[in-house]
């Protein structure tokens, strides 16, 4: 059937104009900081020390060279990368096992487990920051396992931050995989673990990707616990970027260049994989 030129659903002009104006303003709002970040990172220092200017007096890449020597940015980068990658891998693997149990088994405590896990994510971080700090310090004193001020402690902490949402999202995904596949695998003599690894995991790849992106972003952007649980050698980017402000001066062009450099990996990853994230969210959220 040929589509009519003007469908009965075509919205009226007033709607289109409101939409156009609203979406334009919203785009300006959303992108204003991105514009400031990019343009200021290409300005010489005197441009960012005077009144704001839209166009740099000269375009320079100098800030992108200076950022690496003003503060040990590379060390922060390495710390953030190690911590975020480890937290992501552990969190996703642990979430896969937990989600499989919740999705495929009916056991005592199943509801309590899912509710408790979700509830922990809603608690104020400040509530367990102080005790966690004390626990880490005291574990170190008692057993010699250093958790305070080390990457290990931070990895352990961060992976639990993304765990609840990851489990929840993966349960939604696993539930949508037909049980007949499990049963067929069981007929062929697969145990539960092989079923998980050979049937469920391959079928849930989009969900696993979405969860990984989420876990990485969570760890890469965390500030509160990083400010207390790291020291000079394990400092992450979240805290390290403050280093561009000295007692007398803030090198805003370098701050903007550094902000851009630390944003590019996550924003690029997010935009490339956003399709999975949206479908993953749909599977989990709209039930």
């Amino acid at each position: 059937m040929p589509r009519p030129l003007v469908s009965p659903m075509a919205p009226p002009a007033s709607f289109l104009w409101v939409r156009r104006i609203f979406l334009t303003l919203l785009t300006v709002f959303a992108l204003a900081p991105v514009f400031v970040m990019i343009s200021s990172s290409l300005k010489p220092l005197q441009d960012v020390q005077g009144p704001f200017r839209w166009i740099p007096s000269e375009v320079t890449l100098r800030p992108y060279i200076d950022i690496w020597s003003t503060v040990p940015l590379w060390d922060y980068f390495v710390n953030s990368t190690i911590v975020s990658l480890c937290a992501t891998v552990f969190s996703v693997v642990i979430a896969i096992f937990a989600a499989y149990a919740v999705s495929r088994y009916r056991f005592r405590g199943r509801r309590v487990f899912t509710m408790t896990v979700l509830a922990t994510q809603m608690l104020p971080g400040i509530l367990f920051l102080l005790p966690l700090f004390l626990i880490f310090v005291n574990i170190g004193d008692a057993t010699g396992i250093a958790l305070h001020g080390t990457r290990g402690g931070l990895i352990l902490t961060y992976l639990t931050f993304s765990l609840p949402f990851s489990i929840w999202m993966l349960v939604g995904y696993f539930d949508s995989i037909p049980r007949e596949l499990d049963e067929a695998a069981a007929m062929d003599g697969c145990g539960p673990l092989r079923t998980l690894l050979q049937i469920i995991v391959p079928a849930a790849v989009p969900g696993i990707i979405a969860v990984s992106v989420y876990a990485f972003m969570t760890a890469w952007g965390e500030v509160l616990f990083a400010s207390v649980l790291t020291n000079d050698t394990t400092r992450t980017l979240a805290i390290g970027l403050k280093g561009y402000a000295t007692q007398y001066d803030v090198y805003w062009n370098q701050v903007m260049a550094a902000s851009l450099v630390v944003s590019v990996p996550v924003v690029a990853g997010f935009l490339l994989l956003q399709r999975y994230l949206v479908t993953g969210l749909t599977a989990g959220a709209v039930k």
Partner: protein, 304 residues
């Protein structure tokens, strides 16, 4: 007998790593925090906190004694946080809803626009908020340049990051950072509304605005129930935005509760009183959540 036992134990084994970590990082610290709130825990006892003397409800009495400075500033921080949360969640929800509805129909450039709108959500929070703090600088920032030099709306360039204006600055940044999440969630919710509903309504002569009011909004209600609660809890507990915007000591007008407790704990090293305030915060959030869930579920049942 044995294989059967193993089968029954399997789900628990699969859950074990998640369970242990949740216990270690969330639940045990919570219990420890509650115990700490009944002790006089100052810097002398950090390495041996079980030696700190008990004070009963002493820390709580100090925290809620609103005539003394500590209680007074806590109360101020509480009201600031309440109004901040109300405004930030309200505007974020409004922008997210409007954007999701306007982008329900596909049009040219919709995919690009969606990616653009998700950028504030994808940017690491410290990079984004540092940029906002540069924009809010009095003499070198974009905001004052636009308001003062180009639109001539303000005579004397105002300070944004100190004094009373800091509340407005904080709210703007929080809305900027939060609304894309509302947008993303509501977009997902809109995908589940059957198209025939709109077609039938259009046949009956309902305008676009009527369709939004009578089909879209009611269909989004279950999503909104969860979304608003999540936004409320995240915003009320927000630490990152004020911490990066103002540093560890926020101006009084923007002294959010998390920052306030952080300050009370790590600057004075009085963990006992900080814990008592955290426990009070937790009780308040539990109460609000319970009341909210009871009320919204009742309305849902009444509608059904």
């Amino acid at each position: 007998m044995l294989p059967r036992l193993r089968r029954a134990a399997l789900p628990y084994l699969l859950l074990l790593p998640a369970l242990v970590l949740e216990l270690l990082i969330h639940l045990v610290p919570m219990v420890v925090g509650i115990v700490m709130s009944f002790r006089q825990l100052t810097q002398f006892f950090i390495r041996n906190w079980s030696a700190a003397p008990w004070t009963g409800f002493g820390n709580y009495r100090v925290a809620v004694d609103f005539s003394a400075p500590i209680g007074k500033s806590l109360l101020n921080s509480f009201w600031v946080t309440c109004s901040f949360t109300l405004l930030a969640v309200g505007f974020s929800w409004l922008l997210g809803t409007a954007a999701a509805i306007f982008m329900q129909e596909s049009f040219w450039g919709r995919g690009v626009l969606r990616a653009v709108f998700l950028i504030p959500y994808a940017l690491p929070v410290y990079a984004a908020v540092i940029t906002w703090s540069f924009m809010f600088q009095r003499d070198t920032g974009l905001i004052n340049h636009v308001l003062g030099d180009e639109l001539h709306l303000v005579g004397e360039k105002p300070f944004w990051l100190i004094g009373d204006n800091s509340f407005a600055a904080l709210t703007v940044v929080a809305v900027w950072k939060t609304w894309p999440f509302a947008f993303l969630t509501l977009m997902a919710g809109l995908q589940n509304i059957p198209r025939d509903l709109y077609e039938a309504a259009a046949m009956d002569g309902a305008s676009v605005w009527q369709q939004i009011r009578q089909i879209t909004m009611p269909a989004l209600r279950p999503v909104n129930q969860v979304l608003l609660l999540v936004l409320f809890l995240w915003t009320f507990n927000d630490f990152n935005t004020p911490y990066i915007l103002f540093g560890a000591s926020a101006p009084e007008a923007a002294d959010l509760i998390s920052i306030h407790i952080y300050q009370a704990s790590f600057v004075t090293w009085n963990f006992g009183s900080g814990s008592a305030m955290s426990v009070l915060l937790l009780l308040f959030l539990l109460l609000v959540t319970a009341v909210y869930l009871v009320l919204t579920s009742r309305w849902r049942d009444a509608d059904a």
